[in-house]
Amino acid sequence: MDAIILQFLNGVDKGAAYALIALGLTLIFGTLGVVNFAHGALFMLGAFCAVTTNTLLTLSQKVKDPSITFFEAYIDQPYLVTWYGDLGATIIDWSVPISLLLAIPVMFLLGTVLERGLIRHFYNRPHADQILVTFGLAIVLGEIARTFYGANPLPQPTPDFFTGQVNIGAIFGSDLAYPAWRLLYFLVGVVIMFGVFALLQFTRFGMVVRAGMQDRQMVQLLGINIQARFTLVFGMAAAIAGVAGALYTPTLPPNYEMGMEFLVISFVVVVVGGMGSLGGAVLAGFMLGILEAIVALPVISDLIPGINQVIIYAVAVVVLLTRPRGLMGRKGVMED
């Protein structure tokens, strides 16, 4: 039983990452009608924002190692520790949450710049061209990340405060413990999702954006600069991907190829959820994440080897054959 709950939680954790990427994809797709193959790369760049923050915070100088007395030994000591002592060490320890201060503005800016500078010119081109140019962008962004950070995964520290295990089993009357950081990730993911929904449902900005998704031309005729708002939405989607990537680094050490791995699954998530449906993206994200984790249980994977590699795609096939529009796709939204 504990094993099942554990896998379930793992699935929820990974599902949160899928759902966040899929949410951004759907936002971009719903507003601008562009399939962003570079969205995985944005997730990856978010992760590297965390790496950058960590590198910056741990800039070091050589100091004499006091613990070795019989010869001169030097160790690297971060400036922050030299200057602020324990406080500096704590700041370094919290580098991943702190990196959000870098990731959110950087990714938001990058998103708007990309939209204004590149994607904008592709609205009137065929979908294939949009896919191709964002695919090229994904390659370029990935390779840029590689020239700066190399090809190896770079593990990031979990803040000490969250390294412990939370005794989540107490709810069910067992003593199942789960890493606190992963629970935090899930919570942050849920908060972001609710934030996006609230923004779209309960604010004037959201109302205009939703109206623009329905009928862009009409909104424009009413004298609203819908394009500017869509640009902001693109920036927002990029920032969400960035946050999702940055906070995922303690769980999965980032490398330059991680973007595409997540993107492929997020695409499947979007297709299963229904193209253009935010709720569908979130639902399918969690569903597929959990499903993937559950079938990785030894009981099931011994029975059908390799099922955990295939299950997501199998579900996608079944959904497409039975409900071509996806779980929550509406009629008339991107039928082809």
């Binding site: 399939v35 590149l118 010119h121 081109r125 065929p126 979908h127 294939a128 061209d129 896919i131 191709l132 140019v133 695919f135 090229g136 962008l137 390659i139 370029v140 390779e143 840029i144 590689r146 020239t147 595409m260 791995e261 492929v264 699954i265 695409f267 499947v268 979007v270 297709v271 193209m275 080897p305 390799g306 590699q309 295939v310 795609y313 996608a316 096939v317 497409l320 054959l321 071509p324 991107m334 082809d336």
Partner: protein, 378 residues
């Protein structure tokens, strides 16, 4: 097939067959790279049949390439080292898998199709790495072994007494670094080009173009589009499987990395770079990319510094540092940048560029043949 098409075929055959002569002038006179030109030209031609004619953008073509390679190596292991059964088997396997995938993926068009094919290829890749290890030998890749069955070879007594055998073509050695491998690839590529030309010019090809320009209208005229799409998808998969089989024939090993998304992407890049929907474009693109890969990836910083030695020292170094990021291991960066530039500014690829040049200078007569063949890509 009109006269002009035979002329096209003749040009292509002449270019392929004379490659050992002109190859050395672009520093590509050795069999390995010439084989790559032929094999990847072939797969790009097959991809172009699908994307160029119907507009269905498949992001999973490398899966067929990988399956073709695995099939061919298994054929070598189990039956005979002769390449003919191997490439036939890999072609058929490529077609079969394409049939299964096409049945599902072609239910949707546009973006969905791209996503489904991409997902399928990633699935094949992760399967090849994990569960299918008995079939694919996982990370090591499938290789020949001393204890392989090679039933036919043993029965015919052509199995070598000791050491690993090399692939052969009716008794001629192939994989041991001769020109035989290249000739086989070149001949197969020419045949493949001929078939593609026939398909493009046939009424079947015209139907496919009709589907591309307006599928709804085609179905109003009473055409069931799906059988056509599945057929061309299977043909395209067979080309990819055949290319995989050829790759395994000239170098009998197969690895899962051939199915990775970058490999699928590369096939797309080749076709777009050369020019979608044109006959020569994809082959040209494949040649350019494989040539760049062979050249750029061997450069390193010192080569770049030498090349920039004419600049003043002060700016030379900073230039060289930047430029060195684009070569060697980072050559994919240059590939990505070139690709983006092409998609943004020259959607018709190199062929469109040539066409524009011809139009610009008006010395059209000699180049007219090339220009005529390229239908403007969307």
């Amino acid at each position: 097939m009109r006269k002009r098409d035979y002329f096209l075929l003749f040009i292509f055959a002449a270019v392929m067959l004379s490659m050992p002569i002109w190859g050395p002038f672009i520093d590509a006179g050795y069999p390995d790279i010439m084989q790559r030109f032929a094999v990847f030209g072939l797969i790009a031609v097959g991809f172009n049949l699908l994307f160029g004619l119907t507009g269905y953008l498949s992001f999973g073509h490398a899966a067929f390439l990988g399956i073709g390679s695995y099939t061919a190596v298994w054929c070598f292991k189990l039956f005979t080292m002769d390449v003919i059964p191997a490439i036939i088997a890999s072609t058929i396997m490529g077609g079969l898998v394409a049939l299964i995938l096409g049945f599902v993926a072609l239910r949707r068009s546009g973006i969905y199709f791209s996503i489904l094919t991409l997902a399928f290829a990633q699935m094949m890749y992760s399967l090849a790495y994990s569960v299918l290890t008995p079939l694919t030998n996982g990370e090591t890749g499938l290789q020949l072994a001393l204890g392989d069955a090679r039933v036919l070879d043993r029965a015919l007594g052509t199995n070598p007494e000791s050491g690993l055998p090399s692939t052969s073509f009716l008794g001629f050695g192939v994989s041991n670094q001769g020109m035989t491998g290249y000739w086989i690839c070149a001949i197969v590529a020419i045949i493949g080009f001929y078939i593609a030309l026939r398909i493009t010019r046939s009424s079947f090809g015209i139907m496919l173009r009709g589907i591309k320009s307006n599928q709804t209208r085609m179905s109003y005229t009473g055409l069931a589009a799906r059988p056509y799409l599945i057929t061309v998808f299977v043909i395209s998969g067979m080309y990819a499987g055949l290319a995989g089989g050829l790759l395994a024939s000239v170098d009998p090993l197969a690895g899962a990395e051939r199915m990775y998304w970058t490999a699928s992407g590369e096939i797309v890049l080749m076709t777009i770079l050369g020019g979608v929907g044109t006959m020569f474009g994809p082959i040209l693109g494949a040649g350019i990319i494989k040539w760049l890969e062979a050249k750029l990836s061997t450069f390193n910083e010192s080569v770049v510094e030498q090349a920039m030695a004419f600049l003043p020292d002060s700016i030379e170094h900073s230039f060289a540092v930047v430029a060195s990021k684009f070569v060697g291991e980072g050559w994919h960066l240059s590939l990505g940048v070139i690709f983006m530039l092409i998609v943004i500014f020259l959607p018709g690829g190199v062929m469109e560029g040539l066409q524009r040049l011809v139009g610009l200078f008006g010395f059209g007569k000699t180049k007219k043949q090339g220009a005529d063949t390229s239908t403007p890509a969307e």
